[in-house]
């Protein structure tokens, strides 16, 4: 049984454990083990103070399954280590790429063979804005009313 739940990004989203029949007010022996409902804010945002949301424009990261229109959760307090997908500032613009390091140079690698890697050398300026931790993609685009 699935129940439509409106997604409010400013409020905690409560997911009901589908494996259990829920009767409001009825105690259940399983309740002690379950405790609080899953709170997506806690799952997706480990450090609210340093976490921000961005929207993707373009397709240079499709091989990493990041598509145009996706929403990215970006955390500025996470270390920008090689191999991680980062949000970087290049020429005054935000860009999402894979961070790589090799022999003293830093690279911003796309995930799409049609795009080229951006390379930075000693003395050149690259700013890593934050590290991408989650990708949020909306599946159902609600255009009609609910029954």
């Amino acid at each position: 049984m699935s129940v439509p739940i409106p997604l409010l990004t400013s409020a905690p989203l409560e997911l009901v454990d589908v494996g259990q029949r829920v009767h409001a007010g009825f105690p259940s022996p399983a309740q002690d083990h379950q405790q609080r409902r899953i709170d997506l804010n806690e799952v997706l945002i480990l450090n609210p103070l340093s976490t921000f949301l961005f929207r993707v424009s373009g397709d240079s990261m499709v091989d990493a399954r990041i598509y145009d229109g996706d929403q990215l959760i970006v955390d500025r307090s996470v270390e920008a280590a090689p191999g991680r997908i980062v949000l970087a500032c290049v020429d005054g613009e935000f860009t999402v790429k894979i961070l790589q390091r090799h022999r003293g140079s830093v690279f911003l690698q796309p995930a799409n063979p049609a795009y080229e890697t951006i390379r930075f050398c000693e003395g050149q300026e690259l700013t890593i804005w934050g590290v991408v931790t989650w990708n949020l993609r909306q599946i159902l685009h609600d255009k009609v009313g609910r029954s």
């Binding site: 103070l49 949301l53 373009g58 990041i66 990215l72 999402v96």
Partner: protein, 434 residues
């Protein structure tokens, strides 16, 4: 000895904008007040162009074309969110914190083991890393000295490290050398007007004010300024205020006849704001935030019920009726819905700060004349009865058409306004194939 730190964001509104607009870094940038009227924040490049704090935009508009100046409207939602993050980060550093304004926080570091400079550098690094806002930290044995230390920290090579100044670890001679030459207007609690009066008494610097006899200051000015003098001499008279709730001024009324049209509410709100502002000026306070509320009569159960309120933080703390009215009417129009019989409305001014103690002293020429106007209005109302002089309806009608033509998106508070992460090719390079 007490050890109080004052942490504040550098050119805070400009810095907030630059977090989401890295293309604005290094360029002359200003943020405009309500109604796009005057500059309330300036980047260092804009300061170098000669833009003054509080300068009306029409005076500097030519710099847009001539010097590439960028002027943005205030983005309240963004600044409030970034401020909350900054204050929550700072809360971890000391057992007691006082959030003084949207970008300033006092911290009580008394009794903590680490040197002030070490703590300060960690604070600056963490805030820069987590939210991208540059800050300065000043530490002193009183709040007034902490503020002064912060002022020193902002100068090139002012303190012990870039953006940090701890007065409590300096020998008194070195400390005096650092703070005595500072202009007296820079002292917290001394605005332009008190500064002019002090200068008339040949007190023009911190050093001179420090040495002024306490009873003379108390007699000629107030016990408040005397306290400032004692604070300048190292005595902590003002404590960290842990109390979250601040005082407020409320003006509201239940209507004799219910109001259904927004114009009726606007008339009422105009009156409430004027009265509340008058009380504000009478106490020599400025409001940093404003709330409007409207509601139906809950006892008329057969009617449709509604109760709405909206809080607007003011970019600049003010006691000016027109400025407050601009904001209040805008908020009112935002929450008003037709089809209800409104029975009560009101305005609440809160987050009140003492005049002269707000972060920015905005009494530039234009505001000085507005200030005299307000004083005259108050004087006439006091002499001939309240309401003798009222804000004209035409002025009020124009007042709420607040311009915000150059506002950036609400990046962190509006799902539809998220900043863009580009996954497109850069304009300069061409994509490779195969």
């Amino acid at each position: 000895m007490r050890r109080l730190a004052l942490v504040d964001g550098n050119n805070f509104y400009c810095s907030c904008e630059r977090v989401f607009r890295p293309d604005l870094i290094g360029r002359p940038l200003i943020v405009l007040s309500n109604n796009d009227g005057c500059a309330v924040a300036r980047s260092s490049e804009a300061k170098r162009l000669g833009v003054k704090m509080g300068q009306p935009f029409f005076e500097i508009r030519h710099l847009v074309r001539e010097a590439g100046l960028i002027a943005l409207s205030s983005n309240y939602a963004l600044y409030a969110d970034m401020s909350q993050r900054m204050m929550d980060i700072l809360a971890q550093y000391a057992p007691r914190q006082e959030v003084y304004s949207i970008d300033e926080s006092f911290l009580d570091l008394t009794g903590l083991a680490e040197p002030g400079v070490t703590i300060s550098e960690r604070i600056r690094a963490q805030i820069e890393q987590w939210i991208g806002i540059p800050t300065c930290v000043g530490i002193g044995s009183s709040k007034t000295l902490a503020k002064l230390a912060n002022h020193v920290a902002k100068k090139e090579a002012g303190g012990q490290a870039s953006g940090v100044c701890d007065l409590t670890v300096l020998p008194s001679a070195a400390r005096d050398l650092l703070i005595d030459p500072i202009d007296v207007e820079e002292v917290w609690g001394v605005g332009r007007r008190v500064g002019a009066q002090l200068r008339a008494m040949r007190i023009g610097t911190v050093g001179q004010l420090r040495r002024a006899p306490a009873d003379l200051i108390r007699r000629r000015f107030s016990v408040v300024l005397e306290r400032t003098v004692r604070e300048l001499n190292g005595e902590a008279c003002l404590d960290i205020d842990d109390i979250a709730a601040r005082q407020q001024i409320v003006c509201s009324r239940s209507f004799g006849a219910e109001v259904t049209q927004v114009e009726g509410l606007v008339d009422a709100m105009t009156e409430f704001v004027a009265k509340a502002a008058e009380r504000l000026r009478g106490q020599q306070l400025l409001a940093s935030q404003l709330q409007v509320f409207i509601r139906t009569n809950p006892f008329r159960t057969q009617q449709r019920q509604t109760s709405s309120a909206l809080v607007i933080p003011l970019v600049v703390p003010t006691d000016d009726t027109i400025a407050l009215l601009n904001v209040a009417i805008l908020a009112l129009r935002h929450i008003y819905r037709p089809g209800f019989r409104y029975a009560k409305a009101g305005v609440m001014l809160f987050d009140l700060v003492r005049e002269g103690w707000e972060q920015r002293d905005l009494f530039a020429e234009a505001d000085e004349s507005r200030h005299r106007l307000m004083a005259t209005v108050d004087g006439l109302n006091a002499r001939y009865g309240g309401g003798t002089i009222r804000i004209g309806r035409t002025e009020a009608r124009q007042a709420w058409e607040m311009k915000q033509t150059q506002r950036t998106p609400a990046y962190t508070t509006d799902w539809s306004a998220l900043p863009i992460a580009s996954a497109r090719p850069r304009l300069r390079s061409t994509p490779k194939f195969g």
